[in-house]
Amino acid sequence: MSAIATVIRRPGEWAWFGVLAVAMLAGGAAVGYVFVAGHDHALNVSRQIPWGILISTYVFFVVSSTGLCLVSSLGDVWGFKAFEVIGRRGHLLAILTLLTGFGVMAMELNHPFRMVLYAVISPNFSSPIWWMGALYGLYLVLLCGEFTALMIGSRRMSFIFGLAGFVAAISAHSNLGAVFGLLEARHYWYGSFLPIYFILSALVSGGALTALIVYFNHKARGISLSPDYERFMITVGKLQALFIGILMFFIVWKMIPGLYGKPPEKYEATMVLLAGPLAFNFWFFEVLIGMLIPFLLLINRRTLTPFGVTIAGLLCTIGIFFMRYDLVIAGQMVPMRESVAEGPAHLLEYFPSLAEFAIVAGAIAFCLFLYSLAEKFLPMEGGHRH
């Protein structure tokens, strides 16, 4: 009875949870299919492109988590007052995106349970993936500590956990860059660029997502922004403009060495993005949607409004999703072995399967679902100094 009453009272909320439920059902069905049919058939990954959209979505989620943590800790750890309002929400979403990310990755792993066991009893300290597990595990614990501290309002505790979490986030996330960056075989990924780039792009992600949660919370509740939030939005907007500016600078310098002198394999992978199969993703989603439009919105005084910052954040987030995808796939598209005897050099192909899409959609919905529940049942308003 009460549920129906709620539905009638709040059709928007009902629609929101309805959409999430459909996406989660699709994701759940896809997960079931993976277990029944096996990875080999459910996923479009192959011998030559073993990492697909699930890995890139995992990266997207943990980048989001890192970004949320870094941006949220600006208030609690680094004393930027404007950011204190985002403390609880930011850290909560950081936890949820991290957990969702783990979940998505577990779907790509053939034996997630073996991992739990053998990562402990047979660790390989030279493996970036082992460190990834260890550091993100530590990071998760610290995030939870920080979130608890924020919820109980312990300033000292939140500072300690916040600082530790900040360090863990930086370590874990730069190490994630190293998961790719330490692969000598993959010229497009190899080097120190990715660990640094991952931190920077996390900041963009974090800024975008915090703006989104603030805006949509108020929208959902039908209330207008308080001056604190107003100030937060504008500050985030300005910061975001700076981050995007640096990001564009990074992208330019990622591309130039990939073209200059046509370094083998790196050049081909770079061209995949600039003029190859992923060019639309790159130019439209990454450059236009992910960077140029948000940047223009944010540096233009007339559009530097809470709504403008929100739109920029939304576009950025979409763009970053594609950045992750393109990064993971482009790095694998140049074959490790020449496979064509005649004609132009051959690029490998990958396009996600229906099951992969469904898992991604389900994961995003699951993350939003948990967050929506938290908003409904936990006191998320404000930081610890209210």
């Binding site: 049919a37 096996g38 080999d40 058939h41 005649e342 004609g343």
Partner: protein
């Protein structure tokens, strides 16, 4: 019958049968839902092993064999020595037998894939009787008794209504083919039809008419090899394919003529994309140089040959400059190759190849090749052409009944030299269609697959359509089986005990097949099938089949137990390890003159050219291409394309076309095209490649099957048999497969 169906065999068979059935249905199910899923669901060897090993004790699978069986391969005609590694009663791996000299201790992809013939869900399992229309694919499972009764009844009906010659017996080589031929003879039909006129009949004829035998090239010891029309790196033939490479990097020189850049071309020192059908001009020009410059072996010619004096004036007009215009090979190269060849002689071989069903001048081409070898003294010398030798085995005698009023072979008189055992496919089929001079209304088929192998498939279909009855014995549902009325499943070579066979050659070897496992399902060796059928034709016929395989083999080795001992312990028997050279010098050759015949008096008598005369092939008109066909190392004719392992190596054939022509036609690499000849149309993917002459197109043989019983390849690629016009070389009756012009159209 019952003694062959011992309970434990049925037991084991049924485990596998259940297993395979389950897999089959799962694969079909998945096949509907997504083709990408198809591969997984195919029975994997591991699953077969697991399923067999698990009932009982959950035996842990190891990769170590528990038993080894010496046997010999049947994936192609080479009969390489095999050691089957067995585990838990399942064939795990087929290893090469290092003691088997002729294969140089190797086993190719097909040999290795042989175990899948046993465990392939597509194999024939039970006798089948057609219930729908021919080719519709509706069958019902029958007992052996019912199927054999039906076959015997239909054969008798044909014999009664027409004559015993109204039954034709179609077969191809194999260790149990002799029982099929014996049955044909005992039944009383002269109309046996074998594969040679689709293959090497003109080769045997041309070399035979010259040397009196088809010699064996000593490729291993040759210093100079010329191969034309013999793609030895892909059409693997032992030991030549291996020996051709063994000298690579050493003093050996390999000159290769082929309109395609094959893998042999990639291995050759020189490759010339010769215009198809002009090889004879090349050989005659080489002869012109060698004879004109007196680079021949005068002493050999004087002592061992006849007709050289007729040859000299015959060659006058065949200059390298003339040949260059025919072959598209520069005159100076022809001249140089001729001189190099003569200088390397007698360790110089103009290799005769195997399949020679290319052009209607083929017997004369082979004659010219033989003559070229002869004039440089290439006979029974190290690195030259060697006589074949044999190991003598005991005979298994039988007495075929005599029937009155049976006419002569159907195509008698259509071919200059018709083999009574092999027949000639093209004229035979034409005469069946015309019912001239008498109708042929029944067809027994063993192993051969004429729908895939005889040019102009629509004629073969028409021939089969007018049959009252067709029965096919095979291990898979070939196209021919698919269009039959009764299909009888033979046991595969790994499940059979086969008679000892001697592979003749410079170093003859005897081999035998020992069964690795009992026949799965209800499959039976052909000898058993023939025996059971014979019993249905009265005591006189049955008498000729009243023996066990063990007794048959015992007769073969009577007085020579060492042969059987060697076969059991080493898998091969031979009397010496190295060829003996020169024993035939000064001895009589098996020709009418007793000498090697450069000038063929017998050809002259038959109205054929006594010395090879060149006649230029037709050239394709604009917009048309000469259709070539050939082989890869993965497939034997039309038989192994559906093998799970080999299918992975090539799932479909494609049409090779030169990039310039593709551009002209506006066709892209990988796009699907239609190929149209005067007799048929097929469609397949286009492969644009520099590897082919611009005036030719090429496809691999053996795809475009009609049978849905070959589930992996049905609907894939094109069949050359559907496109090639049926033309014939008149002396040997060999078909001419490279004389068809086609147009290429977008699909």
């Amino acid at each position: 019958m019952s003694k062959f169906l011992r309970p434990e065999i049925i037991g084991k068979g049924s485990i596998v049968s259940r297993l395979l059935k389950r897999k089959l249905s799962r694969r079909r199910f998945l096949g509907v839902s997504s083709c990408a899923l198809g591969t997984v669901a195919l029975g994997s060897q591991l699953n077969v092993l697991k399923a067999l090993a698990e009932p009982g004790s959950g035996v842990k699978l190891s990769l170590v064999p528990d038993r080894s069986v010496f046997t010999c391969c049947e994936m192609c005609v080479n009969k390489c020595g095999v050691i089957a590694r067995m585990r838990e009663g399942v064939i795990h791996k087929l290893d090469p037998n290092p003691s088997f000299l002729r294969s140089r201790g190797m086993l190719c992809a097909r040999g290795n894939a042989g175990l899948q013939t046993v465990y392939d869900p597509d194999r024939l399992k039970y006798p089948l009787i057609r219930t729908g229309a021919r080719g519709e694919g509706k069958w019902r499972r029958a007992s052996w008794d019912e199927a054999l009764d039906l076959v015997a009844g239909k054969m008798t009906a044909v014999a009664d209504q027409y004559s015993r010659a109204g039954m034709m017996f179609v077969s191809t080589e194999g260790f149990q083919e002799e029982f099929f031929l014996r049955f044909a003879e005992c039944f009383g039909s002269p109309n046996t039809l074998r594969h040679p006129t689709l293959c090497l009949a003109s080769n045997l004829q041309g070399f035979g008419a010259t040397y009196g035998t088809n010699p064996f090239p000593d490729v291993r010891n040759a210093d100079y090899l010329i191969m034309s029309g013999a793609n030895r790196a892909e059409a693997l033939f032992t030991p030549d394919s291996i020996d051709m490479i063994a000298g690579d990097g050493g003093r050996r020189k390999l000159v290769y003529l082929d309109p395609r850049f094959t893998r042999t071309a990639a291995k050759a020192d020189e490759w010339y994309p010769i215009r198809p059908g002009t090889d004879l001009a090349f050989v005659l020009a080489m002869l012109h140089v060698i004879v004109g410059e007196k680079r021949y072996d005068r002493e050999f010619i004087d002592t061992m040959t006849v007709g050289f004096d007729e040859l000299v004036p015959h060659l006058e007009t065949y200059s390298p400059e003339w040949a260059a215009g025919e072959c598209d090979i520069p005159a100076e190269d022809i001249r140089r190759i001729a001189r190099e060849f003569a200088a390397a002689a007698p360790r110089a071989i103009y290799y005769q190849g195997r399949r020679s069903s290319f052009f209607d001048n083929d017997t004369q081409l082979r004659r010219a090749m033989a003559i070229l070898n002869v004039v440089v003294g290439n006979w029974d010398v190290k690195g030259g052409m060697l006589p074949g030798k044999k190991i003598h085995l005991g005979e298994n005698y039988y007495l075929a009944p005599w029937y009155d009023g049976v006419p002569e072979r159907l195509e008698t008189g259509d071919v200059t030299y018709l083999s009574l055992k092999d027949g000639a496919w093209k004229p035979f089929r034409d005469r069946v269609l015309a019912a001239d001079p008498y109708p042929v209304k029944g067809m027994m088929v063993y192993k051969q697959n004429p729908l895939q192998s005889v040019p102009n498939r629509s004629k073969t279909l028409a021939m089969m359509e007018q049959m009252d009855f067709i029965c096919t014995i095979d291990i898979t549902m070939s196209d021919t089986a698919w269009y039959s009325d009764v299909v009888l499943p033979e046991a595969t070579y790994l499940e059979r005990l086969d008679p000892i066979h001697v592979l003749s050659g410079p170093v003859p070897e005897a081999v035998m097949r020992q069964p690795c496992i009992e026949p799965l399902f209800e499959t039976k060796p052909n000898q058993w099938i023939m025996q059971q059928l014979a019993r249905r034709f009265g005591d006189e016929v049955a008498e000729s089949f009243n023996f066990t395989m063990e007794a048959f083999i015992a007769n073969q080795v009577e007085g020579h137990p060492e042969i059987l001992e060697a076969l059991r312990t080493r898998g091969v028997y031979r009397e010496n390890d190295e060829p003996v050279y020169g024993a035939s010098h000064g001895k009589r050759m098996k020709t009418r003159s007793g000498k090697i015949e450069i000038y063929s008096a017998k050809y002259a008598k038959e109205g054929q050219d006594p010395l090879p005369v060149y006649r230029a092939p037709q050239t394709p008109s604009r917009g048309r291409y000469r259709l070539l066909l050939g082989r890869t190392a993965y497939f034997t004719h039309g038989t192994t394309q559906n093998n799970p392992y080999l299918h992975e190596l090539m799932a479909e054939n494609s049409l090779w076309l030169h990039p310039d022509e593709a551009r002209r036609l506006g066709l892209r690499d990988g796009s699907r095209v239609r190929v149209r000849s005067s007799v048929g149309e097929e469609s397949l993917p286009l492969r644009v490649t520099e590897k082919i002459r611009p005036d030719c197109v090429y496809m691999d043989h053996g795809f475009g099957v009609l049978s849905k019983g070959l589930s992996r390849i049905h609907g894939r690629g094109a069949s050359d048999a559907a496109l090639i016009e049926d033309r014939m070389e008149p002396i040997s009756g060999n078909v001419a497969m490279h004389q068809t012009f086609v147009e290429i159209l977008p699909a």
